[in-house]
Symmetry: C2
Subunit: 219 residues, 2 copies
DNA sequence: CTATGATTTAAACGAACGTATGAATCATAG
DNA sequence: CTATGATTCATACGTTCGTTTAAATCATAG
């Protein structure tokens, strides 16, 4: 008898996370998932009810922690600021930096979940978008408010747009670590993959802050 | 007998473009496509051979023009510059601005194709990525070289990363015009949809240039 | 007109899909 | 030990998938 260190449910979630990341939701079958997890085909429906519920649980397992952490960091920063507006760079780091630093934390899903998240934000499935919207709403509103206060001279609509652009740049930074290598055909010879991740955070952060602080467009 | 203004092949391409945009490649069936196009189920395999070939043709129809236009604009700018390096903003506008201005050109696919492209760049399907890589390689190399020359003081690796970030921001700007509205839950009350598109180009361009010119990160 | 090749059509193919079922097996409490 | 509920198992259900086939229809040249 083999030593089964992980519960069936966890094994399924891990396999589903990796396969959804690699092939998308529609492109991944229940038989692939249960095959990779080493469990019976019926196990998904027994433990999660359906494929849709499984997908939601894959996200909830990671997003609950991430968004609580984002809230916790923002709470602490605002407490220390004593009512003063926060620095924009601190807000951006709390939101995007917290996300990116998940990539180094293997027990929180690591790079696999981040890639899944990055590509899911542009995916079409209605129920996934609705689920993410609900899951994200509270934390998103808090961060938008913080940015409004931190940048009082910038029109709110402009801030929302730039927040959106930042999401896109970050999503690509994660999801495209290998996806867009084909398209861009770059070689970054001098760095191994762990090095690349460590340097990605400051690199991306510089870019995001540059974009956020850019002169307003004149129409 | 009805007046059929469009050929069968064109009708299929139009339907496939819209449906792939709305539901993704795996999420769209041949029966949906032929149903919306008002043609027989077998027509796709007769005219295009397979679903994969159809997808490639959907992209080729638009990308051929786009990338030729990008080349043409860059050629003309370099001719006028007489060997001098180009302005980074001119290069960025030639690459991303040309793309965005497709959105207003309905006979080039308009906003539908741009959304499809934006979401496909983060999609997983192996054959699509390989196809896009081949389709994009030449124009990508030309623009990278132009940026290297325009920004001689910036390390090439940094330029490539920032080009990548710019792609992500642009992709989200397009694909997420309604996709991420759920997540961000914004209201931009003062603008209708045509207005929004007109203002998107300068808005995004400001953001991209701010990110591209941002101070280099110190490690 | 007739002949010929291109196109469209209805129907079917085998394969893969998500899900459901009932029996077998397991863990645990009494 | 036995009893009970949780879990795993092999198997099958009904649908839908992309693709193929052969006959029907169309367009056009001689």
């Amino acid at each position: 008898m083999e030593t089964r260190t992980l519960e069936t449910g966890e094994r399924i979630l891990d396999a589903a996370e990796r396969l959804f990341m690699a092939h998308g939701y529609e492109g991944t079958s229940m038989r692939q998932i249960t095959g990779e997890a080493g469990v019976n085909l019926a196990a998904v429906n027994y433990h999660f009810g359906s494929k849709e519920s499984l997908m939601q649980e894959v996200f909830r397992r990671r997003l609950d922690w991430l968004n609580e952490e984002r809230m916790r960091v923002l709470d602490e920063m605002e407490r220390e600021a004593n009512g003063q507006p926060l620095k924009p760079s601190a807000i951006v780091d709390a939101f995007f930096g917290t996300l990116l630093r998940m990539a180094g934390d293997e027990k929180r899903g690591g790079i696999t979940f981040l890639r899944l998240l990055g590509r899911t934000l542009t995916e079409p499935s209605e129920f996934i978008r609705a689920f993410l919207a609900h899951e994200y709403k509270t934390v998103m509103d808090r961060y938008k408010e913080a940015l409004f206060r931190a940048l009082p001279e910038v029109p709110k609509a402009e801030i929302v747009w730039r927040f959106h652009f930042m999401l896109g740049a970050t999503s690509y930074a994660i999801a495209g670590t290998d996806a867009l290598r084909l398209v861009t055909d770059w070689q970054i010879e001098e760095e191994d993959s762990t090095d690349r991740l460590d340097r990605l955070v400051p690199r991306l952060m510089s870019f995001l802050m540059g974009g956020l602080r850019a002169p307003l467009p004149q129409y």
